[in-house]
Symmetry: C4
Amino acid sequence: VNILAFSPDGKLLASGSVDATVKLWNLAIRQEVATLRGHRDGIFALSFTPDGHTLISGSRDKTIRLWPAPTFEEIEAAEKAARVAR
Amino acid sequence: VNILAFSPDGKLLASGSVDATVKLWNLAIRQEVATLRGHRDGIFALSFTPDGHTLISGSRDKTIRLWPAPTFEEIEAAEKAARVAR
Amino acid sequence: VNILAFSPDGKLLASGSVDATVKLWNLAIRQEVATLRGHRDGIFALSFTPDGHTLISGSRDKTIRLWPAPTFEEIEAAEKAARVAR
Amino acid sequence: VNILAFSPDGKLLASGSVDATVKLWNLAIRQEVATLRGHRDGIFALSFTPDGHTLISGSRDKTIRLWPAPTFEEIEAAEKAARVAR
Protein backbone atom coordinates (compact mmCIF):
# COMPACT_ATOMS: atom_id res chain seq x y z
CA VAL A 1 0.00 0.00 0.00
CA ASN A 2 1.58 3.20 -1.26
CA ILE A 3 -1.20 5.68 -0.83
CA LEU A 4 -4.33 6.26 1.25
CA ALA A 5 -7.28 8.58 0.54
CA PHE A 6 -10.35 9.38 2.61
CA SER A 7 -13.71 10.27 1.13
CA PRO A 8 -14.70 13.85 2.04
CA ASP A 9 -17.40 12.54 4.41
CA GLY A 10 -14.77 10.45 6.23
CA LYS A 11 -16.70 7.20 5.82
CA LEU A 12 -14.62 5.48 3.15
CA LEU A 13 -10.90 4.83 2.93
CA ALA A 14 -9.27 3.98 -0.38
CA SER A 15 -5.87 2.31 -0.55
CA GLY A 16 -3.61 1.86 -3.58
CA SER A 17 -1.08 -0.94 -3.79
CA VAL A 18 1.95 -2.02 -5.77
CA ASP A 19 -0.17 -4.97 -6.93
CA ALA A 20 -2.22 -2.59 -9.16
CA THR A 21 -5.43 -2.79 -7.13
CA VAL A 22 -7.36 -0.11 -5.33
CA LYS A 23 -9.29 -1.22 -2.29
CA LEU A 24 -12.20 0.51 -0.59
CA TRP A 25 -12.77 0.17 3.13
CA ASN A 26 -15.80 1.04 5.24
CA LEU A 27 -14.22 2.70 8.25
CA ALA A 28 -17.22 2.24 10.57
CA ILE A 29 -17.18 -1.55 10.24
CA ARG A 30 -13.45 -1.81 9.40
CA GLN A 31 -14.12 -4.06 6.44
CA GLU A 32 -12.98 -4.08 2.86
CA VAL A 33 -16.02 -3.37 0.67
CA ALA A 34 -14.58 -3.43 -2.85
CA THR A 35 -11.47 -4.14 -4.89
CA LEU A 36 -11.11 -1.99 -8.01
CA ARG A 37 -9.19 -3.72 -10.79
CA GLY A 38 -8.03 -2.31 -14.12
CA HIS A 39 -4.61 -0.74 -13.65
CA ARG A 40 -1.69 -2.70 -15.01
CA ASP A 41 0.99 -1.47 -12.59
CA GLY A 42 1.28 -0.18 -9.05
CA ILE A 43 -0.93 2.63 -7.74
CA PHE A 44 0.98 5.63 -6.45
CA ALA A 45 -1.66 8.40 -6.53
CA LEU A 46 -5.20 8.28 -5.21
CA SER A 47 -7.72 10.95 -4.40
CA PHE A 48 -11.41 11.56 -4.12
CA THR A 49 -12.64 14.60 -6.01
CA PRO A 50 -13.47 17.42 -3.59
CA ASP A 51 -17.21 16.79 -4.15
CA GLY A 52 -16.69 13.12 -3.20
CA HIS A 53 -18.43 11.86 -6.33
CA THR A 54 -15.43 10.18 -7.96
CA LEU A 55 -12.31 8.35 -6.87
CA ILE A 56 -9.31 8.97 -9.12
CA SER A 57 -6.31 6.65 -9.23
CA GLY A 58 -2.92 7.18 -10.86
CA SER A 59 -0.63 4.29 -11.71
CA ARG A 60 2.92 3.58 -12.71
CA ASP A 61 1.19 2.25 -15.89
CA LYS A 62 1.00 5.99 -16.87
CA THR A 63 -2.80 6.20 -16.80
CA ILE A 64 -5.34 7.70 -14.47
CA ARG A 65 -8.68 6.02 -13.97
CA LEU A 66 -11.98 7.40 -12.70
CA TRP A 67 -14.26 5.41 -10.40
CA PRO A 68 -17.59 7.16 -9.71
CA ALA A 69 -19.43 6.70 -6.40
CA PRO A 70 -21.44 4.95 -5.20
CA THR A 71 -20.70 1.87 -7.34
CA PHE A 72 -17.09 2.75 -8.17
CA GLU A 73 -17.37 1.01 -11.52
CA GLU A 74 -14.88 2.52 -13.88
CA ILE A 75 -16.08 5.03 -16.48
CA GLU A 76 -15.39 3.44 -19.85
CA ALA A 77 -14.92 6.65 -21.82
CA ALA A 78 -12.69 8.10 -19.15
CA GLU A 79 -10.61 4.97 -19.12
CA LYS A 80 -10.03 5.20 -22.84
CA ALA A 81 -9.12 8.87 -22.62
CA ALA A 82 -6.74 8.10 -19.77
CA ARG A 83 -5.12 5.32 -21.76
CA VAL A 84 -4.46 7.65 -24.68
CA ALA A 85 -2.95 10.23 -22.36
CA ARG A 86 0.33 9.23 -20.79
CA VAL B 1 11.10 8.38 6.79
CA ASN B 2 8.84 8.35 3.75
CA ILE B 3 5.70 9.89 5.09
CA LEU B 4 4.50 12.24 7.84
CA ALA B 5 0.98 12.70 9.21
CA PHE B 6 -0.38 15.13 11.80
CA SER B 7 -3.25 14.33 14.12
CA PRO B 8 -6.23 16.63 13.44
CA ASP B 9 -5.58 18.48 16.71
CA GLY B 10 -1.99 19.17 15.63
CA LYS B 11 -0.50 17.66 18.79
CA LEU B 12 0.88 14.39 17.42
CA LEU B 13 3.10 13.69 14.45
CA ALA B 14 3.33 10.20 12.99
CA SER B 15 6.23 9.16 10.76
CA GLY B 16 6.55 6.05 8.60
CA SER B 17 9.90 4.59 7.67
CA VAL B 18 11.47 2.17 5.25
CA ASP B 19 12.38 0.09 8.33
CA ALA B 20 8.66 -0.90 8.72
CA THR B 21 8.05 1.10 11.89
CA VAL B 22 5.64 3.93 12.56
CA LYS B 23 6.75 6.44 15.18
CA LEU B 24 4.60 8.87 17.14
CA TRP B 25 5.99 12.20 18.27
CA ASN B 26 4.62 14.68 20.79
CA LEU B 27 5.19 17.97 19.03
CA ALA B 28 4.95 20.12 22.17
CA ILE B 29 7.86 18.36 23.87
CA ARG B 30 9.55 17.23 20.64
CA GLN B 31 9.91 13.68 21.89
CA GLU B 32 9.15 10.31 20.43
CA VAL B 33 6.31 8.78 22.45
CA ALA B 34 5.74 5.43 20.74
CA THR B 35 7.04 3.05 18.09
CA LEU B 36 4.36 1.00 16.35
CA ARG B 37 5.61 -2.36 15.12
CA GLY B 38 3.82 -4.95 13.01
CA HIS B 39 4.39 -4.15 9.35
CA ARG B 40 6.87 -6.35 7.53
CA ASP B 41 8.06 -3.83 4.95
CA GLY B 42 8.50 -0.08 4.55
CA ILE B 43 5.67 2.34 5.35
CA PHE B 44 4.68 4.56 2.43
CA ALA B 45 1.19 5.75 3.44
CA LEU B 46 0.07 7.15 6.78
CA SER B 47 -2.95 9.12 7.83
CA PHE B 48 -5.10 9.85 10.82
CA THR B 49 -8.81 9.37 10.22
CA PRO B 50 -10.55 12.76 9.97
CA ASP B 51 -12.05 12.24 13.46
CA GLY B 52 -8.54 11.67 14.84
CA HIS B 53 -9.54 8.41 16.52
CA THR B 54 -7.37 6.06 14.46
CA LEU B 55 -4.01 6.15 12.74
CA ILE B 56 -3.89 4.11 9.52
CA SER B 57 -0.66 2.91 7.97
CA GLY B 58 -0.05 1.39 4.54
CA SER B 59 3.03 -0.67 3.77
CA ARG B 60 4.91 -2.14 0.88
CA ASP B 61 3.97 -5.44 2.59
CA LYS B 62 0.53 -4.87 0.89
CA THR B 63 -1.45 -4.47 4.12
CA ILE B 64 -2.98 -1.56 5.94
CA ARG B 65 -3.06 -1.53 9.71
CA LEU B 66 -5.26 0.39 12.14
CA TRP B 67 -3.92 1.88 15.34
CA PRO B 68 -6.67 3.42 17.55
CA ALA B 69 -5.93 6.41 19.78
CA PRO B 70 -5.06 6.97 22.52
CA THR B 71 -3.06 3.78 23.02
CA PHE B 72 -2.35 3.08 19.35
CA GLU B 73 -2.35 -0.65 19.97
CA GLU B 74 -3.23 -2.42 16.78
CA ILE B 75 -6.76 -3.76 16.28
CA GLU B 76 -6.39 -7.52 15.94
CA ALA B 77 -9.45 -8.11 13.79
CA ALA B 78 -8.61 -5.25 11.49
CA GLU B 79 -5.08 -6.52 11.15
CA LYS B 80 -6.34 -9.91 10.04
CA ALA B 81 -8.75 -8.34 7.56
CA ALA B 82 -5.96 -6.17 6.22
CA ARG B 83 -3.67 -9.15 5.82
CA VAL B 84 -6.24 -11.00 3.78
CA ALA B 85 -6.69 -7.97 1.54
CA ARG B 86 -3.70 -7.16 -0.59
CA VAL C 1 1.16 8.69 -12.70
CA ASN C 2 2.82 9.26 -9.34
CA ILE C 3 0.93 12.26 -8.04
CA LEU C 4 -2.42 14.00 -8.41
CA ALA C 5 -3.36 17.57 -7.47
CA PHE C 6 -6.70 19.37 -7.60
CA SER C 7 -7.06 23.08 -8.23
CA PRO C 8 -8.58 24.85 -5.20
CA ASP C 9 -11.86 25.36 -7.10
CA GLY C 10 -12.05 21.61 -7.79
CA LYS C 11 -12.40 22.07 -11.55
CA LEU C 12 -8.94 20.99 -12.70
CA LEU C 13 -6.94 17.88 -11.95
CA ALA C 14 -3.19 17.79 -12.56
CA SER C 15 -1.30 14.50 -12.84
CA GLY C 16 2.46 13.95 -12.83
CA SER C 17 4.05 10.94 -14.47
CA VAL C 18 7.29 9.02 -14.58
CA ASP C 19 7.51 10.10 -18.24
CA ALA C 20 8.33 13.70 -17.11
CA THR C 21 5.03 15.23 -18.23
CA VAL C 22 2.34 16.98 -16.25
CA LYS C 23 -1.18 16.67 -17.60
CA LEU C 24 -4.18 18.87 -16.86
CA TRP C 25 -7.69 17.46 -16.89
CA ASN C 26 -11.04 19.23 -16.94
CA LEU C 27 -13.02 17.22 -14.42
CA ALA C 28 -16.47 18.35 -15.66
CA ILE C 29 -15.89 17.00 -19.18
CA ARG C 30 -13.36 14.33 -18.14
CA GLN C 31 -10.95 15.36 -20.86
CA GLU C 32 -7.27 16.10 -20.91
CA VAL C 33 -6.84 19.81 -21.68
CA ALA C 34 -3.06 20.27 -21.66
CA THR C 35 0.27 18.46 -21.42
CA LEU C 36 3.02 20.45 -19.74
CA ARG C 37 6.50 19.57 -20.96
CA GLY C 38 9.86 20.74 -19.68
CA HIS C 39 10.99 18.40 -16.91
CA ARG C 40 13.70 15.96 -17.80
CA ASP C 41 12.77 13.19 -15.34
CA GLY C 42 9.71 11.79 -13.57
CA ILE C 43 7.33 14.05 -11.65
CA PHE C 44 6.91 13.11 -8.00
CA ALA C 45 5.53 16.32 -6.47
CA LEU C 46 2.70 18.47 -7.72
CA SER C 47 0.59 21.14 -6.09
CA PHE C 48 -1.46 24.19 -6.89
CA THR C 49 -0.58 27.23 -4.81
CA PRO C 50 -3.29 27.88 -2.22
CA ASP C 51 -4.55 30.85 -4.28
CA GLY C 52 -4.89 28.57 -7.32
CA HIS C 53 -2.88 30.91 -9.53
CA THR C 54 0.09 28.62 -10.16
CA LEU C 55 0.74 24.92 -10.53
CA ILE C 56 4.10 23.81 -9.14
CA SER C 57 5.79 20.59 -10.15
CA GLY C 58 8.79 18.86 -8.62
CA SER C 59 10.84 16.30 -10.53
CA ARG C 60 13.48 13.66 -10.00
CA ASP C 61 15.51 16.01 -12.29
CA LYS C 62 16.02 18.07 -9.06
CA THR C 63 14.14 21.17 -10.28
CA ILE C 64 10.78 22.66 -9.51
CA ARG C 65 8.85 24.42 -12.26
CA LEU C 66 6.07 27.01 -12.07
CA TRP C 67 3.11 26.96 -14.43
CA PRO C 68 0.80 29.99 -13.98
CA ALA C 69 -2.94 29.72 -14.63
CA PRO C 70 -4.83 30.09 -16.85
CA THR C 71 -2.38 29.30 -19.67
CA PHE C 72 0.00 27.15 -17.60
CA GLU C 73 2.91 28.24 -19.78
CA GLU C 74 6.09 27.93 -17.78
CA ILE C 75 7.64 31.04 -16.25
CA GLU C 76 11.04 31.42 -17.87
CA ALA C 77 12.76 33.22 -14.99
CA ALA C 78 11.39 30.80 -12.45
CA GLU C 79 12.54 27.90 -14.53
CA LYS C 80 16.09 29.25 -14.59
CA ALA C 81 16.07 29.84 -10.85
CA ALA C 82 14.75 26.34 -10.30
CA ARG C 83 17.43 24.85 -12.49
CA VAL C 84 20.18 26.52 -10.51
CA ALA C 85 18.65 25.25 -7.30
CA ARG C 86 18.81 21.53 -6.77
CA VAL D 1 12.29 17.07 -5.95
CA ASN D 2 10.08 14.41 -4.34
CA ILE D 3 7.83 16.49 -2.14
CA LEU D 4 6.42 19.99 -1.84
CA ALA D 5 4.90 21.70 1.21
CA PHE D 6 3.29 25.12 1.60
CA SER D 7 3.41 27.15 4.77
CA PRO D 8 -0.09 27.63 6.22
CA ASP D 9 -0.04 31.33 5.21
CA GLY D 10 0.74 30.33 1.61
CA LYS D 11 3.84 32.52 1.42
CA LEU D 12 6.58 29.90 1.56
CA LEU D 13 7.09 26.75 -0.43
CA ALA D 14 9.43 24.02 0.80
CA SER D 15 10.80 21.36 -1.54
CA GLY D 16 12.63 18.15 -0.64
CA SER D 17 15.05 16.49 -3.01
CA VAL D 18 16.82 13.21 -3.57
CA ASP D 19 20.07 15.16 -2.97
CA ALA D 20 19.20 15.39 0.77
CA THR D 21 18.51 19.14 0.80
CA VAL D 22 15.35 21.03 1.65
CA LYS D 23 14.88 24.34 -0.14
CA LEU D 24 12.65 27.22 0.86
CA TRP D 25 11.09 29.48 -1.76
CA ASN D 26 9.42 32.85 -1.41
CA LEU D 27 6.40 32.47 -3.65
CA ALA D 28 5.77 36.21 -4.06
CA ILE D 29 9.21 36.87 -5.55
CA ARG D 30 9.70 33.34 -6.93
CA GLN D 31 13.16 33.08 -5.41
CA GLU D 32 14.90 30.47 -3.35
CA VAL D 33 15.51 31.95 0.09
CA ALA D 34 17.27 29.12 1.93
CA THR D 35 18.79 25.66 1.55
CA LEU D 36 18.48 23.46 4.63
CA ARG D 37 21.27 20.93 4.96
CA GLY D 38 21.69 18.13 7.46
CA HIS D 39 19.97 15.04 6.12
CA ARG D 40 22.22 12.32 4.75
CA ASP D 41 19.83 10.85 2.19
CA GLY D 42 16.92 11.90 0.01
CA ILE D 43 13.93 13.78 1.44
CA PHE D 44 10.59 12.04 0.89
CA ALA D 45 8.36 13.68 3.51
CA LEU D 46 7.96 17.37 4.26
CA SER D 47 5.33 19.32 6.14
CA PHE D 48 4.85 22.50 8.06
CA THR D 49 3.23 22.03 11.45
CA PRO D 50 -0.40 23.23 11.35
CA ASP D 51 0.60 26.34 13.35
CA GLY D 52 3.25 27.13 10.73
CA HIS D 53 5.99 27.48 13.33
CA THR D 54 8.12 24.54 12.28
CA LEU D 55 9.03 22.76 9.08
CA ILE D 56 9.49 19.00 9.52
CA SER D 57 11.41 16.86 7.05
CA GLY D 58 11.65 13.09 6.77
CA SER D 59 14.47 11.36 4.96
CA ARG D 60 15.46 7.99 3.61
CA ASP D 61 18.28 8.35 6.21
CA LYS D 62 15.53 7.25 8.72
CA THR D 63 15.47 10.52 10.68
CA ILE D 64 13.11 13.43 10.90
CA ARG D 65 14.45 16.92 11.44
CA LEU D 66 12.77 20.04 12.80
CA TRP D 67 13.43 23.48 11.32
CA PRO D 68 11.71 26.28 13.31
CA ALA D 69 10.51 29.45 11.55
CA PRO D 70 11.52 32.13 10.89
CA THR D 71 15.21 31.18 10.71
CA PHE D 72 14.72 27.50 9.94
CA GLU D 73 17.93 26.63 11.75
CA GLU D 74 17.71 23.07 12.93
CA ILE D 75 16.89 22.36 16.57
CA GLU D 76 19.89 20.58 18.00
CA ALA D 77 18.07 18.56 20.65
CA ALA D 78 15.38 17.51 18.22
CA GLU D 79 17.97 16.44 15.73
CA LYS D 80 19.62 14.20 18.30
CA ALA D 81 16.27 12.70 19.30
CA ALA D 82 15.44 12.11 15.68
CA ARG D 83 18.76 10.42 15.08
CA VAL D 84 18.18 8.01 17.94
CA ALA D 85 14.73 7.20 16.60
CA ARG D 86 14.69 5.32 13.35
